[in-house]
Symmetry: C2
């Protein structure tokens, strides 16, 4: 028996013991050294086995204490199934529903799981406020005419520094600031396409992208996405062979709504593909810094030496959605993006750029990220517990490794839009699956939940209510 | 002889005396009481005559001192001539030149008359800073998720209040905030048109509009504009008869670059016309509050009871171009504009909206406007003096009654682009006329100068240098 199968075998045995409650939630596992001795195997084999358990979410490491069985998971959630056929190019609809979701989400009257906004309970709010106060006090942000078309230089310096974490080497002058990630994506699409062109996106994908594509008179080809690995590169290749696709638009690191993370070798394949077909790729990296693993995943752009990837991001998911600071790293499309930014707004607000630059330089951003990532992981786990407890057993859902949205596939016989409407009556907001595809009737049994906010008894009760509404649908159906 | 003709006659007599140097620049006119006694006429007649002199720019009032002859104006400048033929629909060009002008304008190395930014020496900068500091200290601008798609409510309340000055009655909910006026104009064009459509604009007009039209795949019909009265409504009517125009885009109050102000009866005609053809009109009102007369002119939208005018503006000309706060009053297109705003940026920065709301409510905005208007009037007068002194006598130029840009038509035989390039070599930035039309070779003898900044010996010398470069061209030509 090889070393590899040995540690897998050990991991499986422990998972069985967790499942049959021999190891109870919260209980400490034997120390690595003790288990190695007891089983007469090497310390590194035990470490590898514990690593598998950690990766799969069965145990957690508490520094200087050891490995503990995590709460939850006597049942393993099943990932949602995504239909693996690529769509024909088609138009998008439902702006009214999208605006209803956005309007409701800005109201304080609902218990909201609908709109993807960061947790509101983090101390970073105070750090940000200090950064703003400092900049207002010390910096010249008025009375100096227009800024460079690229945007504020000190901010771009910080962004260039942080891009290195994603494996991207750029100078501050190779970055263009924007007022949001959505605005950055719009600039890219306008620079690269014209009405009638076809753009490839993954499915399911964020409705803001689909609506933008529709509004620009473009057509979307929806390439199936894997709940773990993101856009299916093989399916994309077939689509590229078949259609005159002008650009690819994807969210490789913690996609919205699946939370999938594209593996590095798949990222390399994607680069090979866009080089082969000589078409640009727009990478939405807005969740890239919110992974639960230790190191930040590489961006697809990290593998791009030809400047063919345009990376878009903002601080809307890491800090706050009302800061008005996003950016593009446009590669070879630098001139076009600066021009599109000029057309779109002439210039953008200077003060928020200065304040975010200050925050990234001196405001404890890394500490905030560590705290946020750990909080989101815990909040995902609590959501998992609640879904397992309150939703019918045939419910499938993602276990994202980053970000803060979960994609939930309800049992056959249910309807997500009906759930959305009934929940809204109860004061609970969710995001119905139909928004995430341009194909009519595609995600009729799916919903997206944002779990960024701290769990309160009220929010936990709302998940219970949602589960009851789903069960009721099943009963009515049968 | 009626009372009215009496004071006009008196005013004319004094103007003659100013012109033949009986009253010298800087000299005090007789007191009202003394002149009334001397001429045996009523005090009110003298007051009315002095009012005419003030309106026509011959004298200025110094509080508690009396009426003084202003410098300037022994010659009367001639307005530029605008070719009165409407163009066929056509595409726009020269993004490179536009970006060059924008990039240079953000540099501190030049003496700049090119980009239209407010004066940098006004105390309002400090008031704004206080408003920002107050909002950062007292308001919740973070950790509250997304705002309403309409934008910040306290700001919209202030904007609705101020819109009344322009004759517009709207509730705060009938306003949508944006990140700039350019962004507002873009939202409107996207809501109203699709690629291939024709939009009517005045000529000459601001290059940001022409470039936006081009980039959206639209075509521009250029309707001639009068240096005093703005877009020629008769010519527009002919264009509407001939072409399937989808929207009209105009700057009725202190247009850029002419500084023209459309008379109220012409505004009414314009409304009748858009009602007759049932097409929407986008009104760019960014300079509307910067008139040199006492009362703010009415917007075209003031005469629109059907909601067919979409008014766009921002604080970029009244306060500062880097604040990131603009808005639309979209009339019947409210839903579409909110949706376009969502597509364009999801949401915009909250803090600047709060700070501008605070500034408009308590920051001394009216006092600032009074100060800015008077400064711009004086700076226009100084520009007039300098142009009369240093430019060849065949030069024609506008005398704007608001805003802070002047349109200058150089003598036959000169070339504005050549002047632009030569001036740039000397470290002086101007805006070449070709940017203000989509027709090649249209304004080859015209330039736009921004006179918002205070006159310094260096800036005055730059105008002299420009004049010498023009004279040199004439010599080389002859």
């Amino acid at each position: 028996m090889t070393e590899m199968s040995l540690y897998h075998q050990l991991a499986s045995a422990i998972i069985d013991q967790i499942r049959n409650d021999s190891f109870k939630p919260g209980e400490k596992l034997p120390s690595v050294r003790a288990l190695a001795k007891q089983q007469k195997i090497s310390v590194s084999t035990v470490l590898a086995a514990y690593g598998v358990l950690e990766d799969r979410g069965f145990v957690e490491v508490r520094p200087k204490s050891g490995y503990f069985v995590r709460r939850v998971l006597n049942k393993t959630p099943k990932a949602p199934s995504i239909n693996q056929s690529t769509s024909h190019p088609q138009k998008v609809t439902t702006p009214q529903r999208v605006m209803e979701v956005m309007r409701d989400g800005s109201s304080q009257q609902f218990i909201a799981f609908s709109v993807a906004v960061p947790g509101r309970d983090f101390p970073v709010v105070h750090q940000l406020k200090r950064s703003f106060a400092k900049v207002v006090r010390n910096e010249t942000f008025l009375g100096i005419g227009y800024d460079s078309p690229k945007g504020n230089q000190p901010l771009r310096r910080q962004l260039a520094r942080r891009a290195m974490d994603a494996g991207i080497l750029v100078s501050p002058d190779e970055i263009v600031t924007t007022s949001s990630c959505q605005s950055a994506l719009g600039l890219c699409l306008r620079a690269l396409t014209k009405a009638g062109d076809i753009v490839a996106v993954e499915t399911p994908t964020y409705y803001g992208l689909l609506q933008l594509i529709e509004a620009m008179g473009l057509k979307a080809i929806e390439v199936p996405s894997d709940p773990h690995a993101g856009m299916n590169v093989g399916a994309l290749k077939l689509a590229l062979e078949q259609w005159p696709i002008k650009a690819i638009l994807t969210i490789p690191c913690y996609s919205n709504p699946l939370g999938s993370l594209m593996p590095d070798d798949q990222k390399r394949e994607l680069i090979d593909l866009i080089y082969h077909y000589d078409i640009p790729m727009i990478e939405d990296d807005i969740y890239g810094e919110l992974g639960y693993e230790g190191t930040r995943p590489k961006a697809v752009k990290a593998y791009d030496h030809k400047g063919q990837v345009l990376l878009c991001s903002s601080v809307s998911k890491t800090l706050d959605p009302q800061l008005g600071v996003g950016w593009v790293i446009p590669g070879r499309y630098q001139e076009q993006i600066e021009y599109q930014k000029f057309l779109n707004s002439i210039s953008i607000a200077r003060l928020p750029q200065l304040a975010i630059g200050e925050m990234l330089a001196h405001g404890g951003y890394e500490r905030h990220l560590r705290h946020a990532r750990e909080s989101y992981r815990q909040r995902r786990d609590r959501l998992t517990e609640l879904l397992l407890e309150h939703f019918p057993s045939e419910t499938r859902f993602t276990q994202p490794q980053g970000g803060f949205v979960s994609w939930i596939q309800l049992p056959p016989g249910t309807n997500a839009l009906k759930l959305y409407l009934e929940a809204r009556q109860e004061g609970i907001l969710i995001s119905p699956g139909e928004l995430y595809s341009s194909a009519a009737n595609k995600y009729q049994r799916s919903i997206r939940l944002c779990y960024a906010d701290a769990w309160t008894p009220e929010r936990e009760m709302a998940i219970k209510t949602l589960g009851e509404l789903v069960s009721q649908q099943l009963e009515d159906h049968s």
